[in-house]
Amino acid sequence: MDLIELHDIRKTYRLGEVDLPVLMGVSLNVSRGEFVALMGSSGSGKSTLMNIVGCLDRPTAGAYWLDGREISKLNASERARLRNRMIGFVFQTFNLLPRTSALENVMMPLIYSRENLTDNQKKQRAVSLLEKVGLADRLDHLPSQLSGGQQQRVAIARSLINHPQVLLADEPTGNLDSRTNAELLQMLQQLNSSDGITILIVTHDPGVAQHARRTVYIKDGLIEQSLSI
């Protein structure tokens, strides 16, 4: 069984009286260790799909298995626990806590973890992740004292703190210049190949998509085409 299995996922938003169907029967399988790019025009429902995959949102209809568990019926607390344990998020707008050091930002998800770690272990883990993303000398910097690329790297470190199986990145390079962009992709590829983390990345940039092993195109709420390299 694949790590992620979406079967005929539908999502319909209700705006007052009007029904707004965004996803209209998406079926997609992603196996363990894959690196998938998700492309499509603006408003095609990429973020909506990512939210469902990331257990932030529930589909209106359809079935979703994550690691063999049907999760479209889970309640808010159960989904929160699942997100904490299985999924790492990297957002377009970094979403770091302001006035909080890089180190503490990275450690933040551990507060909600079920793992029993000592303060020292937590810190060690965060430090080694920050080292991995090349920010060993920026541990005590606040987000406002970091460049965009550095902030995004802190965000990646944070997403990895609970050893997730899936990394979801919604336009992670949207706010970065092309060089930082390339560095970041390098890092993601590294994570994918050496740590075996399954990565889903939403992007508008065909150059970014080239780094992925498979590109999924979405259009009008349906998967249009799925290309593997």
Binding site: A76, A80, N84, N95, L97, R99, M108, Y112
Partner: protein, 457 residues
């Protein structure tokens, strides 16, 4: 989720906005400070009231002998002679709830000084402890008689203002001799003026002397007539009808002792009895236990069997004590109202700021949820924040209140008394205010949708 992590997160959030945290807690600070100060002032006042009451005799208990019952005629309390000075000694030794004991021997007779005479309301033979019980140890002039005087039955006395006025006018009475039934008592002290008591009796109309002196030199020769249950000498002709027709016709069986003989060798009758025993309980709250201890002790000393009624009676100042406790109760209730109002106002302030804080930090909440915070985690975090806020406010309020009451004492000279109870209650109440008024904002935060919260601008 780890409790410690939540607490740390809450403290961090509060630290990020120190100024606002301080301003938010101001309501609680002032509320708690008001409660503390008021309680301490109230406590001080009630202790002062208690002290005043005590000087009026609120803690005193009077033991009087029981009623003589002869041939179906009840002579009323005090007509039996069952109390002894040894009872008084035993009470002070064996009743821990009793602070002080003074036996009293009463007399009612004329005082003579020079060409003036006067009959005082109170002519008491007692011990120096009497002054302690009545909170009267500070004399206006001279000194009180001593235990030594009591033991030796010395002819000394201290007198109240009224007697000074009646017998001495403007003269100083110290060192002068007052004659009581031809016994000369040297005045050694003058009592501080006390005025009338609650019943309107002039408390300064009093003469105090060692009870031994009064008993053996003044009363012994004369009081037998007042005690129906006892006669001193073998008056076998008492039943003689002649004596009723001619009361002065007395036939003594024994030669009558001369007055000199009588004063020199006082003849105790059966045993030495006292008219009352005045006692003071350790405190107002100890009055019931003092009564209980004395009852048990006296019954035992008087060899009373279980079915026998008490041959004595203990009277307390129930009315005064009641009045006192109802005053204190009223004060406490008033303070509670003040506390409630100020803490509710403070709590509303906390709720207001917490709501603002939740709105402000919507994105943060969304992010925390995205990385795995369950709604209950968010709820707990904001609740903890509110409680911590209130506890900070409570702590500062306690310190502010304590310093305020200190200032009140040192500047206005009002009595205050620290109250551990008020401090404990304040801490508890401010934590509860945090929970009650922090709950709605925290609940609102926990119900946020992570996606909406993350997108929130």
């Amino acid at each position: 989720m780890h409790r410690y992590g939540i607490l740390k997160t809450s403290l961090n959030a509060l630290r990020r906005n120190v100024m606002r945290t301080m301003l938010t807690t101001l309501g609680i600070v002032i509320g708690v400070a008001a409660v503390i100060t008021m309680t301490e002032i109230g406590n001080g006042a009630s202790i002062a009231i208690q002290r005043t009451m005590a000087s009026m005799g609120a803690n005193t208990l009077v033991v009087i002998p029981g009623a003589a019952n002869t041939g179906g005629i009840n002579f009323g309390f005090g007509s039996l002679m069952t109390l002894t000075p040894q009872d008084a000694d035993a009470i002070i030794e064996e009743c821990p709830a009793v602070r002080s004991v003074a036996p009293i021997v009463r007399a009612r007779t004329q005082l003579i000084f020079g060409n003036r005479n006067y009959v005082p309301t109170y002519l008491y033979g007692t011990t120096p402890a009497f002054l302690d019980i009545r909170d009267w140890t500070d004399l206006e002039n001279g000194e009180a008689f001593t235990e030594h005087d009591v033991r030796n039955a010395n002819k000394v006395c201290i007198i109240g203002r009224t007697i000074v006025r009646q017998l001495f006018g403007e003269e100083s009475p110290i060192g002068k001799e007052i004659r009581i039934r031809n016994v000369a008592f040297k005045v050694v002290g003058v009592l501080r003026a006390k005025g009338a008591n609650m019943m309107g009796m002039d408390q300064d109309d009093i003469l105090l002397a060692p009870w031994t002196t009064i008993k053996y030199r003044v009363v012994a020769s004369s009081l037998s007539a007042a005690n129906q249950s006892n006669t001193n000498t073998g008056n076998s002709n008492e039943v003689n009808t002649l004596s009723q027709i001619y009361p002065n016709l007395q036939q003594n069986l024994y030669p009558v002792a001369s007055s000199t003989e009588q004063t020199d060798t006082p003849q105790p009758i059966r045993f030495t009895n006292v008219d009352q025993i005045l006692t003071a309980a350790q405190s107002a709250s100890q009055i019931p236990s003092a009564m209980q201890q004395m009852t048990v002790l006296l019954r035992e000393r008087h060899h009373l069997l279980i079915p026998d009624p008490d041959d004595f009676n203990i009277r307390d100042m129930t009315e005064i004590t009641k009045a006192m406790s109802s005053t204190t109760e009223l004060i406490t209730k008033l303070l509670l109202c003040v506390a409630m109002i100020s803490l509710v106002v403070g709590g509303i302030g906390i709720m207001n700021i917490m709501l603002v804080s939740v709105t402000e930090r919507t994105r943060e909440i969304g992010l925390r949820m995205a990385v795995g915070a369950a709604p209950s985690d968010i709820l707990r975090q904001f609740l903890t924040e509110a409680v911590v806020l209130c506890l900070i406010g409570g702590t500062m309020g306690i310190m502010l209140g304590r310093s305020a009451s200190y200032i009140v004492t040192s500047v206005l000279h009002w009595p205050t008394a620290a109250s551990v109870g008020a401090i404990v209650v304040s801490v508890f109440v401010s934590a509860s205010v945090g929970v009650i008024f922090g709950f709605y904002p925290a609940w609102k935060a926990s119900r946020l949708d992570p996606i909406d919260a993350l997108r929130y601008e």
